[in-house]
């Protein structure tokens, strides 16, 4: 049994300790936010936050995450009460198929926690591990800037 803390809730899972977190999130815990894209850490679709770091859940075994705080897309807010990053991405309509976007949102969340006012270059650099095939990139960049402005307005 492995203890994880997912979106603030303690859970005990009986998956094999070598199982990558992605399959535990999607299978055992029934969460949809993290997506399978490559299983190789090359596309970013599976990105979640562990502690304060964005990680590829498709290649991180749960044994490496015992007792750690894990945040998934579901931890940012709900459809009825979306979080700041979610509101920004929705406002910019930053998706087409949307499959890759949650991973980018988790990356943006981790970036803004670390650096509330990133420059355009810093946003691009942070998003470097992420692929999008529909070509939503311009909107994603705008959404991260919008989320940055919104989160600073809240802090003020």
């Amino acid at each position: 049994m492995i203890d994880l803390i997912v979106n603030g809730r303690s859970v005990e899972v009986d998956d094999d300790p070598a199982t990558p977190l992605l399959y535990v999130l999607r299978g055992t815990l029934g969460l949809n936010g993290a997506k399978y894209g490559c299983g190789l850490g090359q596309c970013g679709a599976c990105t979640v936050i562990a502690g304060s770091q964005a990680i590829f859940s498709c290649i991180t075994p749960i044994s490496a995450l015992r007792g750690q705080h894990i945040t998934t897309l579901e931890g940012l807010g709900t459809r009825g009460r979306p979080g700041i990053v979610q509101r920004a991405f929705i406002a910019e309509q930053a998706a087409q198929c949307g499959y890759c976007i949650p991973g980018m949102m988790m990356r943006a969340q981790a970036l803004l926690q670390r650096n509330p006012a990133p420059s355009d270059a810093e946003i691009r650099a942070a998003l470097a591990p992420h692929l999008c095939r529909c070509g939503s990139h311009m909107r994603v960049l705008r959404a991260v800037r919008r989320a940055s402005r919104a989160s600073r307005a809240v802090r003020r």
Partner: protein, 766 residues
């Protein structure tokens, strides 16, 4: 949006309730559709469904499904359900169709639930492909909703004994001049909309549109961005199990031996499936299935026999393979038989495109359940009706025992692994009856087995007269087919490896005007003499099929690169040269608008930066797109798209932000194809297994800005737009690199010619 939620809930109920609700709908719908033609949807590429015996004068897909209740229903509570045979692929079609229906029915969009492609519930509109959804389904729903509204007005008039002219529809009710209201729900009975469409509809005056033409936020985006269950990947029917397939290492490989015990003894493994060279594992948890698949792959020995072309001589090979020469110039050849002025100058050039991947970020996935000889498949296929026929053939079931329901997947951009994954799920589900089986392809599976966009080659020869106009144009093209969609089970890849294998049918060219390899092979320009030949190559050493825009990517790349080469030879500005050969006012409008918004006439060159322009009307019959770009090249010869301005005319734009999203995305995707992409292979195997061996656009490559200007055409017919940016983007970038570096690159991807670009830069700065 409550409407959207309703549709999801009903699907969940259907899943949990063992399909009772689905069956109910299936029966209801079949009755409603009885008057339509029962075609399989496999005829005619692009889902036009042109055949229908019923009322050929009806607009859009009403031709094939003329009953109004095929498209919309109003229940006693006033709740409205809209049905479309098209699939939401991330292009935003659901939202646009809801806008259309809400506009004509005079209701708020939230009061509408939309049901997309489902063989038990919706009309058969073939494939969601070829940028046809607005033309086919949008047109049908626009007219059906307008006619339904008029019926409701007449019913209220009869009930109140008032003249219909004085009544108006408003927010789901009919309102009398004295303010009296009656809700739609109170007016309808089950048969109210079970009537045939009329050839003509009283459409809402475009000047009075509340919803059409106003950007509406997409209905699906909030669900996708908060982790709600919306993708086929998210389905979890009770008792669902996970499967993985062990694919052969190369095309045509055969399984020599395998130790099935290698997988059977692993934790969670419930079943190992072998049928000839087809191998799969079923496990209770997803990662257990992956571990078992890997073990089984280790234990399998294959004999390989694929013979792939020498990639370093791919285009010589293309031109040498046996082909069927088709004269495709048609009317254009006869356009001007007037005596020609003596040609002042002749140019010729050859343009090349390699095999390209669809490259969905999420590999293909499907869920299937086989129970009491009844197969249910949830799939992100672009064509659930043709897929149903193919699966029925594959499993030798009567078609009515197969139910295919479209659920969203990762964007597909054409025929990717979606249908094959559905076939996998169906084959494996049959081995574990009663269980819902989820098959999720691995990254390498998608990369190695999806059907690629075909490699292509085009040669152009053009003559300029002494006044700097094009006097003659000769075009010759080499390509495979651009559609091997499952019209039959032989096109489902898993079927090739069964003990009783099926083989793909002989490929056919898709005829013009839509065209396949020859889509957009004829220039839209006015040219006195045009010749064009399409060398259709039946042999397909690499698996190929429909990739967004089909041949238009290479053809427009070739034509619009060559237009710039001719303009340069004539000593005329690129825009001016194009305008000299354009007569269509809407074409002229997008060309001028893109040039103006880009600042073409006042653009000042700087070192390492070039500008480029291109125009095409998609398929020469759908949306118009003109694109101006700025590209930069560095001292290493690396090229990057820096800025793009597009002007598009897609007829009446229902959701302008949706149009912008499609064009922006099309530009970025086409920039990726054009600058970076090429499927790699050796003489036996595909080697582009992952994103390291098939690099695509990343954030560092993304331009500084993209602007999209949409022509306002209220009331005009919809012109398919989803693929309109692909070709013009390719040529505009090549033209901008030629401008920046003085080097003309005619082979894609442009990025592989860095050394030539670098040499050009060195020459310029010397």
């Amino acid at each position: 949006m409550s409407g959207r939620g309703g549709s999801l809930i009903s699907r969940r109920v259907a899943l949990a309730g063992g399909g009772a609700l689905v069956v109910h709908f299936a029966l209801g719908t079949r009755g409603a559709h009885a008057a339509g033609s029962p075609g399989s949807g496999a005829t005619g590429f692009g889902g036009r469904g042109g055949v229908g015996r019923a009322g050929s004068s009806l607009p859009g897909s009403l031709r094939r499904w003329p009953m109004l209740d095929s498209w919309l229903r109003v229940d006693a509570s006033g709740a409205i359900t809209v049905f479309t045979g098209k699939a939401e692929l991330g292009q935003g079609i659901e939202t646009a169709l809801v806008q259309i229906a809400a506009e004509e029915l005079a209701v708020v969009p939230a009061s509408i639930t939309i049901v997309t492609a489902d063989t038990g519930r919706t009309p058969d509109e073939g494939y969601t492909a070829g940028s046809h959804s607005m033309q086919d389904s949008g047109t049908a729903i626009l007219n059906a909703a307008a006619q339904a509204r008029e019926i409701l007005v007449r019913l209220a008039a009869r009930r109140w004994r008032l003249p219909a002219e004085g009544l108006r529809p408003e927010r789901g009710a009919i309102v009398a001049p004295n303010g009296r209201r009656i809700g739609y729900g109170a007016l309808v009975s089950a048969q109210t909309l079970h009537v045939r469409a009329e050839p003509h509809s009283r459409l809402t005056e475009p000047g009075r549109h509340r919803l059409i033409g106003a950007s509406m936020p997409r209905l699906d985006i909030p669900l996708k961005l908060t982790g709600e269950s919306i993708y086929v990947q998210d389905l979890r029917p009770p008792g669902m199990v996970h499967a993985r397939v062990v694919r052969p290492p190369s095309y045509g490989a055969q399984l020599v031996s395998v130790d099935l015990e290698a997988a059977r003894r692993l934790p969670g493994v419930m079943q190992v499936v072998r049928d000839g060279s087809y191998l799969a594992v079923v496990a209770s948890r997803e990662h257990q299935a992956i571990v078992a698949m890997e073990a089984l792959a280790q234990a399998a020995r294959w004999s390989e026999r694929a013979e792939l072309p020498d990639r370093t001589r791919l285009y010589e090979a293309l031109a040498s393979w046996p082909s069927r020469a088709l004269d495709i110039a048609g009317d254009r050849a006869a356009e001007g038989r007037s005596p020609l002025a003596p040609a002042a100058r002749m140019l010729q050039a050859e343009y090349r495109r390699p095999y390209l991947m669809h490259g969905s970020i999420g590999p293909s996935c499907a869920v299937a359940r086989f129970e009491s000889d009844q197969l249910t498949v949830w799939t992100h296929s672009q064509g659930v009706f043709p897929l149903r026929s193919a699966l029925a053939e594959l499993l030798q079931l009567p078609e009515e025992r197969v139910h295919c329901i479209q659920a969203q997947g990762s964007g597909c951009y054409g025929h990717n692994g979606a249908d094959d994954a559905a076939a996998d799920a169906a084959l494996i589900a049959r081995a574990v009856p009663g269980r819902a089986v989820r098959v999720q392809w691995m990254r390498a599976e998608e990369n190695l087995w999806e059907p690629y966009g075909p490699a292509m080659l085009a040669r152009v020869r053009g003559e300029l007269d002494s006044s700097g106009r094009i006097a003659s144009w000769e075009y010759e093209l080499w390509s495979n087919t651009h559609s091997t969609r499952p019209g039959g089970a032989g096109n489902l890849m898993p079927a090739w490896f069964l003990a009783h294998p099926l083989t793909p049918p002989a490929p056919h060219p898709i005829p013009l005007p839509e065209g396949g390899g020859d889509r957009n092979a004829l220039p839209f320009y006015r040219i006195p003499r045009v010749g064009a030949r399409f060398n259709f190559i039946p042999q397909m050493p690499l698996r190929v099929s429909a990739l967004r825009s089909l041949g238009a990517h290479l053809n427009v790349f070739a034509i619009e690169s060559f237009m710039d080469e001719l303009a340069r030879a004539a000593g005329v500005d690129s825009i001016e040269f194009r305008l000299r050969h354009l007569e269509d006012a809407r074409a002229v409008y997008v060309v001028r608008t893109a040039a103006e918004r880009f600042g073409w006439s006042r653009w000042a060159p700087t070192a390492g930066v070039g500008r480029g322009f291109a125009f095409a009307r998609y398929k020469n019959l759908a949306a118009y797109a003109a694109i101006a770009v700025e590209a930069e090249v560095d001292r290493d010869g690396r090229a990057r798209l820096r800025r793009a301005v597009a002007a598009v005319d897609c007829g009446m734009a229902v959701n302008p932000d949706g149009v912008r999203n499609q064009i922006e995305g099309g530009i970025l995707q086409a920039a990726s194809w054009t600058l970076k992409e090429s499927v790699a292979f050796d003489r036996r195997r595909i080697t582009s297994r992952d994103w390291a061996s098939y690099p695509i656009l990343r954030f560092e490559d993304v331009p500084d800005s993209i602007e999209v200007v949409i022509a306002e055409r209220p009331g005009e017919p919809f012109l398919g737009l989803g693929e309109a940016a692909q070709g013009p983007t390719a040529a505009a970038i090549a033209n901008a690199i030629a401008d920046a570096a003085g080097v003309r690159i005619r082979e894609l991807p442009l990025g592989q010619s860095a050394s030539q670009i670098r040499a050009g830069i060195v020459l310029r700065t010397a």
